[in-house]
Amino acid sequence: MLNVGQITEGFVLDHIKAGNSMTIYHDLGLDKLDCTVAIIKNARSNKMGKKDILKVECDIDTLNLDILGFIDHNITVNIIQNGEIVDKKKLKLPPEIVNVIQCKNPRCITSIEHGLDQIFVLTDEEREIYRCKYCEGKYKKYK
């Protein structure tokens, strides 16, 4: 049994699909934060077989968790204060995501104007389809 110390204030992101923790680490900008982060890969899970877990010790207002909904809305977000779980956040697909993914359409204006925000809009919630705000190119969300 692996033991990673408890955190007093921050987040525990549980039920991350095995292998996705490093993507989330970068997408949440954790590499830029000066805080304690524990990355647990391939932990045993009754529900998923194996899973990743991220423990982040930081002020609970520091992170923008909207992006997690885009990455995988099945992730469980436990909010920790004083060493206790005080809230569990339910994730949903955000209506718009900014500067998380890049448009790959070579004909899109973003391919030549690199200062533009990369904005994707949720156009089909059922099929989890996002489209580039500028060229409407489809981005199929990865699972």
Binding site: C108, I109, T110, I112, Y134
Partner: protein, 304 residues
């Protein structure tokens, strides 16, 4: 601030109002001859497009306004690395309204987001060309008297032809419209139009390869050009470019009041002998393009 970036930026009610105004301009051009005096249109063409540019410029001049701008990327400050957003910020100081044509998709939207003046998308790559759609709608409504209860044939390059995609999206908002999609197998309508527009909205349509088979049923035939620049392989282009040629003999199969439209320029998909047929409406369509752009300028400047 109002902009026109996509044909669907206008509701059906707004569209009807715009087309009414365009028809009034057609009937009483002198009434509108001075409505834009003291106003300037910035004509920002990052790629050559004689027809669209001249149509916009003629529209502004017919309204008594003035035009400034550039007609190719080489004569704009884009060659110095200026962004579209910066260009439109500067142009906002010189003009009251702008029409922008750019080879990259989404460029007009970027301009509208930074602009202090109304922006009209005059074509952004293979993406949107709303004033072509407005031209098509005005032509159909003026010559057929309606935009509903029509069986519309779309023929040629249905895969890459943005005018066809936009026209379908605009027309499905009217009742009892059906489509006959005439194309070679390789140039069939893209899946998202078939599934997300036609099937989703329960619009009757059929796909055929032979033009002769479709012609007798149509109220309207919209011909398109097979564009050479869309093909990677010269042989494919050569094989496709002569796939459909509308001539006098085929026109005999059509209804006596079927209209023939084409966004122009044509190459050889409509024989010149068809030009004298009273059903050939493609040059009238070019004239309607000026009226609808006049109506659009007046509407966006809140003059009419």
């Amino acid at each position: 601030m109002n902009h026109i970036i996509s044909p669907l930026d206008l509701s059906v009610e707004e569209l009807d109002k715009l087309l009414d105004l365009a028809n009034d301009i057609e009937r009483y051009p002198e009434k509108y001859a001075h409505t834009c005096e003291g106003k300037r249109l910035a004509s920002l063409f990052y790629e050559p497009s004689t027809r669209t540019r001249l149509s916009f410029e003629a529209a502004m001049m017919n309204l008594g306004g003035k035009v400034l701008g550039f007609s190719e990327q080489g004569s704009s400050s884009a060659t110095k690395g200026e962004s579209v957003a910066d260009t439109i910020r500067v142009v906002s100081c010189y003009a009251d309204i702008a029409a922008i044509r750019h080879p990259k998709e989404g460029a007009a939207l970027v301009a509208s987001m930074a602009s202090q003046i109304p922006v009209i998308n005059a074509g952004d790559g293979g993406h949107q060309h709303p004033t072509q759609t407005l031209t098509d709608l005005l032509t159909i409504r003026s010559l057929k008297g309606r935009l509903d209860n029509l069986n519309i044939g779309l023929c040629g390059d249905l895969k890459f032809g943005r005018t066809v995609h936009s026209l379908i999206e605009a027309l499905v908002r009217y009742p009892n419209v059906s489509f006959t999609l005439i194309s070679p197998e390789e140039l069939r309508i893209p899946g998202y139009i078939r599934n997300e527009v036609l099937k989703k909205k329960d619009i009757p349509f059929r796909e055929v390869v032979r033009l002769e088979e479709a012609l007798p049923e149509l109220d309207l035939l919209y011909m398109t050009r097979v564009q050479k620049e869309r093909f990677f392989n010269e042989e494919d282009y050569i094989r496709m470019k002569d796939f459909y040629i509308l001539d006098e003999i085929k026109m005999k199969l059509a209804k006596p009041d079927m209209l023939v439209l084409h966004p122009l320029p044509r190459v050889n998909e409509i024989s010149v002998e068809v030009d004298k047929d009273p059903r050939a409406a493609y040059f009238k369509q070019a004239q309607y393009g000026v009226y609808v752009r006049m109506a659009l300028i007046l509407t966006l400047l809140e003059i009419a």
